[in-house]
Amino acid sequence: MNKRIEQVYALFAEAKQPLKFMEVCGTHTMAAFRSGLRSLLPERLSLISGPGCPVCVTANDSINKAIAIAGCPDTIVATFGDMIKVPGSTTSLERVRAQGGHVHVVYSPLDALDLARKNPDKRVVFLGVGFETTVPGVAWTIKNSAETGVANFSVLCMHKTMPAAMAALVSAGPIDINGFLCPGHVSVVIGSNAYAFLAEKHKVPCVVAGFEPMDMVGAIEMLLRQIVEGRSSVEIEYSRSVTPEGNLAAQRIIQEVFEPCDAMWRGVGRIPGSGLKIRREYAAFDAELIFSDIAIESDDENPACICGKILRGVKTPYDCALFARQCTPSEPVGACMVSSEGTCAAYYAYAKKRGA
């Protein structure tokens, strides 16, 4: 057996209790399934998936707003691919596109800005979805469009910040999380110091993990060591990318263009200070203001969908009556099934049946 995995078994035996570690990054969720890591771990050491998939935590109301904008004349919605299948109250961006709506899938906000430059007679709206990893690029793009005089580009800002959500998870209860695998590339930007309050105030061990399966094993080993030694601190396994202070230039540009606001998280609710909105200086690029008077469908979610509880780590997809029946990747009901990084989509792809 691999030495690191042997270490995990030895430390887990020493810990003498069942343990739950939460990863809050969709890429970690996928890496853990794809590599078979979950099947290599001790049976009573569980990895639970928190709200780490930005598409999955986007509130229904925001999706409805994006859909309404896509239906406006002379308007192009540019978005990362995962967003287009997300069901709003009655339709999705994909269906709007099939009916002739202008919805473009882009790889980067830079592509959306190019689209605006090439279509000066259209309003191009980029859907700003993502955590601190994505936000600096969107901030740069807004600033660049201001500096270069692109007047037909705007951003519908649905960005969220991770530490506030983790704080809400540990203070809301009832979930017993014995440790956090902190997200790799969010931490590149914000730095590991951002999690200090979790370890100090809430006494939850935190380790920033990289994305290779062996990074995750290493991070799990570090969490176990903290538990065995009876301490809680913030440590970095992903030291080839992450520093305690983070990327200062990226932090500066975020602060220059955005300011904190309250945000709605699907399934979790309103979390104070966990969202970002565009500062007044850049109001001309704020789609929220430009499209403030359009009609938006009311916020109806399927009552049987338990995405919210899954995002908080208190239920798994196996507990959901819709999972793999009415709700599948081709006909998703909830957001966790839509995004390829969603917990339900990962279970569907790699572990459709309990114990499979």
Partner: protein, 82 residues
């Protein structure tokens, strides 16, 4: 989706650079990392370089890939669980 594979800067023009990821080239913004240079290994997210890797970091990454290839899938453990 976070892609944690290093790309190499092949040319720089102002705030932008051409990077090479296993043979695929594209333009990215490099002004969010300190002092970008041709030959630097960088981590890119949605068109923006967000971090530099040293040669030692790249070597560590390659070592982890090799280590994973040596693990027999499903050896110990008990299938996916909650």
């Amino acid at each position: 989706m976070c892609l944690a594979v290093p790309a190499k800067i092949v040319s720089i023009d102002g705030e932008k650079a051409i990077i090479d990821t296993e043979g695929i080239r594209r333009e990215v913004v490099v002004s969010l990392i300190p002092d970008p240079k041709v030959g630097d290994h960088v981590i890119v997210h949605a068109g923006f370089a967000i971090q530099k890797w040293s040669e030692a970091d790249v070597a560590e990454f390659n070592g982890l890939m090799d280590e994973m290839r040596s693990v027999e899938p499903g050896a110990p453990g008990h299938g996916p669980h909650e």
